[in-house]
């Protein structure tokens, strides 16, 4: 058992941390709130140059061939600094499943563009019902000759406004089981019939409505097998859940630190408010939750990194992150008093991101249900020992 990172991993963390602290101070975060693109192309270029978009991509496709730990550490630091970038949709939602399910030709064509050129991708799954299981996917893709024709709309697609390419999940066949008959398509964001509108959201991570009106997609642009798209979606959700949880864990740590610091500085009744027990106990509960979340994320990541992912642990990490991130922000703000409720303080910037992050890669109800499914399948030790 080892609860520490290696020296190399600590070095990677240090350089990522320094990069974000330098390139993305909170002024920058505020500035980008009002930006039409929602990210800073110059910063993005630097990130690409440092190899960040290729962290989990093998060298033969232009990446740095790191471990899952590398991208996990990257996400933690990104969350700590709340960096507005199209990184998550591009790398986690798209590059990772392409690496897993793509044909050799697809990987050769696409991955170097992401790793070396920073081509931006977006992932379109969610629709009007807002459901995250397969029943939420109703958009149709009909086969016509050598092509498919996509009709329908997708919602809350992050950074679709600046994406070159999209992964779109659509229904190619009706089946009793909603997980059957789904297909994932690679769609050129500039294709005829694709219309994109930005939806105003609090995190400003460029959630878009995408409308597809008779959009033609060649058969070669299917990721994975036709009709078996749920396998791809599930893969995306499982991995994105852990990496999003890592991002939230980094954010929750930052909020805790901001609040503890403030509690030591701010005085009322001639004492630092941190000397009041009501404040202390709230902070202590925050600390416990934040440390717990951190290690739950590491535990799930450890299983992924060693090639035996645990669905139970992946869902636990995300379900916990959803609850903890919100609670930490809420209590953190309240402990600041009125100043915490203003745009002047950084802490609000974190809380503005909770709804987006909570929903991405599965909300709490969704993951709780997945956990329950794993529990249903499990055999308790007390039965097996005496069997």
């Amino acid at each position: 058992m080892d609860f520490s990172f290696t020296k190399d991993q600590e070095l990677i963390r240090k350089s990522i941390k320094e990069f974000f602290e330098k390139e993305c101070p909170k002024d920058k975060v505020r500035e980008l709130k009002e930006d039409k693109k929602g990210y800073d192309p110059k910063m993005w270029k630097k990130m690409v140059k440092l190899g960040y978009t290729g962290l989990v991509i093998p060298e033969e496709y232009g990446g740095t061939e790191g471990e899952f730990w590398d991208i996990l550490i990257f996400m933690e630091e990104m969350g700590r600094n709340i960096v507005p970038t199209p990184y998550f949709p591009t790398v986690v939602f798209c590059a990772m499943p392409i690496l897993e399910f793509g044909t050799e030709a697809q990987k050769k064509k696409i991955l170097p563009k992401i790793a070396e050129k920073g081509e931006i991708w977006a992932y379109a799954q969610i629709e009007e019902s807002s459901e995250q299981d397969a029943s939420g996917i109703t958009m149709s893709a009909a086969m016509s000759g050598e092509d498919y024709t996509l009709n329908g709309s997708k919602l809350f697609v992050s950074y679709a406004n600046v994406a070159n390419q999209l992964l779109v999940v659509a229904r190619t066949a009706e089946a009793e089981n909603p997980e059957e008959g789904l297909t994932v398509f690679i769609v050129d964001a500039g294709a005829e019939g694709v219309v994109c509108d930005v939806i105003p959201t609090t995190a400003r991570d460029m959630r878009c409505e995408l409308r597809f009106d008779n959009v033609k997609v060649p058969r070669d642009n299917i990721l994975g097998e036709p009709g078996k798209g749920w396998a791809v979606v599930d893969y995306i959700q499982q991995h994105a859940a852990v990496l999003k949880a890592a991002e939230m864990s980094g954010g929750a740590h930052a909020v805790l630190n901001i609040t503890v610091k403030y509690a030591k500085e701010r005085k009322q009744f001639d004492k630092p408010i941190g000397s009041f027990q009501a404040i202390q106990h709230r902070l202590v509960d925050m600390l416990t939750e934040v440390e717990e979340l951190q290690y739950l994320v590491y535990k799930a990541a450890w299983r992924i990194n060693s090639g035996s992912p645990s669905r139970r642990l992946n869902s636990i990490a995300k379900a916990k992150a959803n609850g903890v991130y919100h609670r930490v922000c809420y209590h953190g703000i309240v402990m600041h008093g009125a100043i915490g409720w203003t745009e002047e303080m950084d802490i609000g910037l974190y809380h503005l991101r909770t709804r987006s992050m909570e929903f991405d890669a599965g909300n709490t109800d969704y993951h709780n249900d997945l956990i329950a499914s794993e529990l249903e399948k499990s055999e308790p030790e007390f039965l097996t020992l005496f069997a």
């Binding site: 503890v260 004492k271 000397s275 202390q280 902070l283 535990k299 709780n368 997945l370 308790p380 007390f382």
Partner: protein, 398 residues
């Protein structure tokens, strides 16, 4: 990062499970605090203690020369988990002896004390059963304010006062007692001492206290001119507070056994919902999942604390963090579990009737045990005080 146990620990775990298969009946699992209640269960506990002693597991962390097996922190972790999961009784030998009396005597007891008391504990002998007399009616969380007086008279000390909430005093041969040897001090932490009191002493009375379900777990001890020989002073006179802190540090890490008990109780609950089909209900699924996530978290944190201790990285606050965390988990589990059992959760845990009780009545028991857990060994809130002070470096609040 690596969350796997080593081969040595896994082998130890299987060895313990073999022992469980042979000696520990599983239909009586989960009756916390009941070990001391009835003569029958106490005798059974003591018989298991003897067997554990033969394996050197009773005092596994003790050095070999004192009858232990010199186990590592990780082995101790495994043992605590198995004890919690399978409900192996007798491990505490009346709560105190194996956990802190023995280790404290090794640290600051005299050679004579070590030779007289330690082998009895390590052997699982009835004369090795101890209770701990810290709390008094007016001194609970504020332990240093205790008033039971202990005055030197020639070769003896004379003790007068009262102890309360003394677990297993009615089963114990000795009491590990904190007393005031000097009341003329500026700071209440000064003038305290630790002494060994023979429970058969003249002038000492044990009165049972029943908890609100009728369980006899703790007691009051009245001391009226109780005489003990001066050799029964442990450590230095008036240096008791420091010795107490050393002794309390051996109490750390209770969270591990507790998380393993939670694991068992949750496993039992999940199994019940599978057998009854309740697990198909959305609300039940959500609750089970929430408990599963909380438990996985509490357990992982408790591991982290042990790993830190093993690597000399402990920052003091972790065991308090984990005790508070587990208190909250027990409460949530007892509530969710009871809700899932519905009307049957109102059964009297002390008169469990197998005709009615679901899952062996463990949730009825837990429901009323969990406030006690949250109070014993330092309340949830006093643990939070410690974390605030030592984990977050906040100014002391009281």
């Amino acid at each position: 990062m690596d969350f796997q146990f080593g081969k040595k620990e896994e082998e130890f775990r299987s060895e313990i499970r073999e022992f469980v298969k042979e000696h520990i009946p599983q239909n009586e699992y989960g009756h916390m605090f009941e070990e001391e209640h009835e003569d029958k269960s106490w005798e059974f506990s003591m018989s298991i203690a003897k067997k554990l002693a033969q394996k050197r597991w009773l005092t596994l962390t003790w050095p070999k020369e004192f009858g232990g097996m010199g186990a590592s922190f990780m082995e101790r972790l495994v043992f605590s988990e198995e004890v919690g999961y399978w409900g192996i009784p007798g491990v505490g030998m009346g709560v105190s002896g194996t956990a802190w009396v023995g280790p404290s005597l090794m640290l600051f007891g005299t050679k004579e004390q070590q030779e007289k008391y330690i082998p009895l504990i390590a052997a699982g002998d009835p004369d090795g059963v101890w209770c701990t007399g810290y709390s008094e009616p007016d001194s609970g969380s504020d332990l240093a304010s205790l008033q039971t007086s202990c005055v030197r008279d020639g070769d003896e000390y004379i003790i007068n006062g009262q102890k309360v909430w003394t677990s297993a005093a009615h089963r114990s041969r000795w009491c590990w007692m904190a007393v005031r040897t000097d009341s003329n001090v500026k700071k209440k932490h000064h003038g305290l001492s630790l002494v060994i009191v023979d429970m058969k002493s003249e002038g000492l009375t044990v009165r049972p206290l029943k908890n609100y379900v009728g369980l006899h777990y703790f007691n009051e001890i009245f001391l009226s001119d109780v005489r003990i020989p001066v050799e029964n002073l442990v450590g230095q006179e008036n240096n008791g507070w420091n010795h107490l802190m050393q002794a309390l540090s051996f109490e750390r890490g209770v969270a591990l056994g507790f998380t393993a008990s939670c694991r068992r109780m949750l496993d039992e609950l999940i199994n019940h919902t599978k057998e009854t089909g309740l697990i198909k209900k959305t609300l039940v699924r959500q609750r089970l999942a929430e408990l599963e996530a909380d438990l996985e978290g509490a357990r992982t944190l408790a591991y982290e604390a042990v790993w830190k201790m093993e690597n000399g990285l402990s920052r003091i606050y972790e065991p308090s963090r984990d005790k508070a965390n587990v208190d909250l988990l027990f409460e949530k589990m007892s509530r969710f579990g009871s809700d899932i059992l519905g009307a049957f959760s109102q059964l009297d845990p002390l008169h469990a009737d197998p005709r009615w009780a679901k899952i062996g009545g463990i949730y009825e028991n837990l429901f009323h045990a969990c406030p006690g857990i949250a109070i014993a060994a330092g309340t949830t809130d006093t643990q939070r005080n410690i974390v605030g002070q030592f984990g977050l470096q906040l100014p002391r609040s009281y």
